[in-house]
């Protein structure tokens, strides 16, 4: 930024502030639109009227969404995979990164290459699918957690971070008689909170947003994640929605749900947690990019 602030507001400032406001508006518009669709009375929104402000208010779509048997289950599945997957990733990444960060480890280069090469070359979609199938992970909840558990980029990040820590702390602990494992968990880990937090957040977002693994590996509808259900709705692969909404409407004469309002409500409850939470953790996400781009 310019060192001496200029208090005068020129025409350029006006235009740029305006353009940024328009930009913000266009970013938020889809969210607002979807939100309105989910809480509006579907009968009244069938027209083309511009919907910038709610004209009616009804939570029927949400009621349907949560009573719809797949959704609460999917919520559980999604939360479960996010928590377990992130925990496993943090553990495995730390276990791999710590030895790799020790410059005096014999054969260190070979091991580092071992963990780095798959970042650039892999089997591809079909061979990976076949391995998963061979392991019996098709239609298993474990398929959400195991395949991606060791994030190779994360290993690199954590390793680099460990390498920046002062060696004296470890040496002092050695002299006191601590072993490697003790040092790792009691000393190094607490010191690495920033990078571990960053990885945890990235992993959580990744799990929360994951849908493709559900699409290709899961057959049982009870094991789907929220995003997978949303994806099915979007591609109209699920043909039971029209009948299900009709049943709901018949059972509850004073409520009314359409496929569209349900889809909107589902979208909102799927992205809700992320939207509400990400501003507070912004700092960690951004910092992750910084660390990642200044690679040794």
């Amino acid at each position: 930024m310019i060192a001496a602030p200029n208090k005068k507001i020129g025409w350029f400032d006006v235009i740029s502030y305006f353009m940024l406001a328009v930009f913000c508006f266009s970013v938020l518009l889809p969210f607002w639109d979807m939100l309105l669709l989910s809480i509006s009375d579907p009968k009244k929104t069938a027209s083309l009227a511009l919907r910038l402000w709610p004209k009616s208010f009804s939570l029927d779509a949400y009621e349907f969404a949560f009573s719809y048997n797949k959704v609460p289950l999917a919520y559980l599945v999604t939360i479960g995979r996010t928590v377990c997957g992130t925990a496993l990733t943090l553990l495995l990444v730390t276990l791999a990164a710590y030895p790799l960060s020790k410059r005096e480890l014999p054969f260190r280069n070979y091991f580092t290459s071992y963990f780095l090469i798959p970042m650039f070359f892999g089997g591809g979609l079909i061979p990976t699918y076949l391995i998963i199938r061979k392991l019996g992970l098709i239609d298993s909840l474990l398929v959400y957690i195991l395949p991606g558990a060791v994030g190779l980029f994360y290993v690199l990040l954590v390793r680099n971070f460990f390498m920046t820590l002062e060696k004296e702390i470890e040496d002092a602990a050695f002299i006191d008689g601590a072993g490697h494992i003790r040092i790792l968990f009691s000393i190094i880990a607490p010191l690495s909170k920033p990078v571990l937090a960053t990885i945890a957040l990235w992993a959580m977002v990744g799990h929360w947003n994951a849908w493709f693994d559900a699409l290709i590996y899961i057959r049982d509808a009870d094991k789907l994640t929220l995003q997978a259900i949303l994806q099915q709705l979007l591609s109209q692969a699920s043909s039971t929605i029209p009948t299900d909404t009709q049943n709901f409407n018949t059972l509850n004469p004073d409520k009314y749900v359409t496929g569209k309002s349900f889809q909107a409500a589902l979208t909102i409850i799927t992205i809700g947690p992320i939207v509400l939470v990400y501003p507070f953790f912004q700092k960690y996400f951004v910092q992750g990019i910084m660390i990642g781009s200044i690679k040794g």
């Binding site: 310019i2 740029s16 511009l50 089997g123 391995i131």
Partner: protein
């Protein structure tokens, strides 16, 4: 590594005798790596073996090793496969358009943000701009289809207000690509600007001060100081983007495309998915995937060489 006496050949390159002592001392560290290494072996290295399928006429009964070699039959048929060639050109075309539109957008955004004097406004704008990055393409697809819907979408509502008939955006093969690019920009402009803003924040403020003293205008400061300082970041990211020219991305396309726009929308990733997992042509799909991986690898390697020559750091 010590040379061990004058023994010829392999003994000359044995690690020094102290090394094995070190290994014993640090054996716990090796043990720590075992579990992650096993995961990586199973899920990252074992599939590489499956690449052999691209070169064989895979017979489920005989397995991969027992099946006959196919003399690169899949690669030959790829050349004649119209759908593959279509997917290939679509991938390249989409990525070239992205370079034209989606690549500069975060740069311009960063430059614009940099001119903001009101810090609070700037931070709010930035926070809002990051939001699309956290959305999955399923959600973005949901937004896009809804916004552009002929009967309920806002865009068509606005058009109708001007007296224009509703446009069917998503099924129109001329409009699909612009919509796709807009979605890319919407998602990436805020997040992509982070790197450039980081580079800009590293600029020495005294450069601006002395420019101010020399009477430089705001425009001149931006062009002569700010932009040249982010050129390294731009070059690196540009070369990396270029090396991904065949990877148009599965997620965006899959969630936005539909049968009516296949001729422009189908890319290599979606083609491999359909051929492999829906048509069960495992061998052929593996071959196409391998083709994409190899070219990508070659491009990444070449671009890393170029980056290394331009500056003194690289990806590895």
């Amino acid at each position: 590594m010590k040379e061990i006496g004058t023994h010829p050949g392999i003994l000359r390159h044995l690690p020094a005798s102290g090394t094995w002592k070190k290994v014993r001392r640090m054996k716990v560290l090796y043990l720590l790596m075992v579990v992650p290494a096993v995961f990586v072996f199973v899920f990252n290295y074992m599939p590489i073996y499956g690449i052999l399928m691209a070169f064989k006429n895979y017979n489920y009964g005989k397995g991969i090793l027992g099946s006959d070699w196919n003399q690169f039959a899949y690669f030959k048929s790829m050349y004649h496969d119209d759908y593959f060639r279509r997917a290939l050109w679509n991938s390249i075309r989409i990525n070239l358009l992205r370079i034209l539109i989606d690549f500069p957008a975060p740069i311009l955004f960063a430059l614009l943000l940099n001119e903001m004097k009101h810090l609070m406004y700037k931070r709010v704008v930035q926070t809002i701009s990051y939001l699309p990055h956290f959305m999955s393409w399923v959600v973005i697809g949901s937004f896009v289809y809804h916004l552009l819907s002929p009967d309920m979408g806002i865009v068509n509502a606005v058009l109708q207000w001007f007296g224009i008939k509703p446009i069917y955006f998503m099924t129109n093969s001329h409009l699909f690509i612009p919509v796709l690019l807009t979605a890319f920009v919407w998602q990436g402009v805020g997040w992509g600007s982070i790197i450039y803003l980081a580079a800009i924040s590293g600029i020495d403020p005294t450069l601006y001060e002395s420019a101010e003293i020399d009477g430089a205008s705001r425009w001149q400061k931006a062009v002569r100081i700010t932009i040249p300082s982010i050129v390294p970041a731009i070059v690196i990211l540009f070369i990396l983007t270029l090396s991904n020219i065949l990877n148009a991305g599965f997620d965006p396309i899959f969630n936005l495309y539909n049968p009516l726009v296949m001729n422009v929308a189908d890319v290599i990733d979606t083609y491999v998915y359909r051929k492999g997992l829906l048509d069960f042509q495992f061998g052929y799909a593996a071959a196409v995937g391998l083709f994409q991986s190899l070219i990508g690898l070659a491009l990444v390697y070449a671009s890393n060489r170029i980056i290394k020559r331009y500056s003194d750091f690289g990806i590895w």
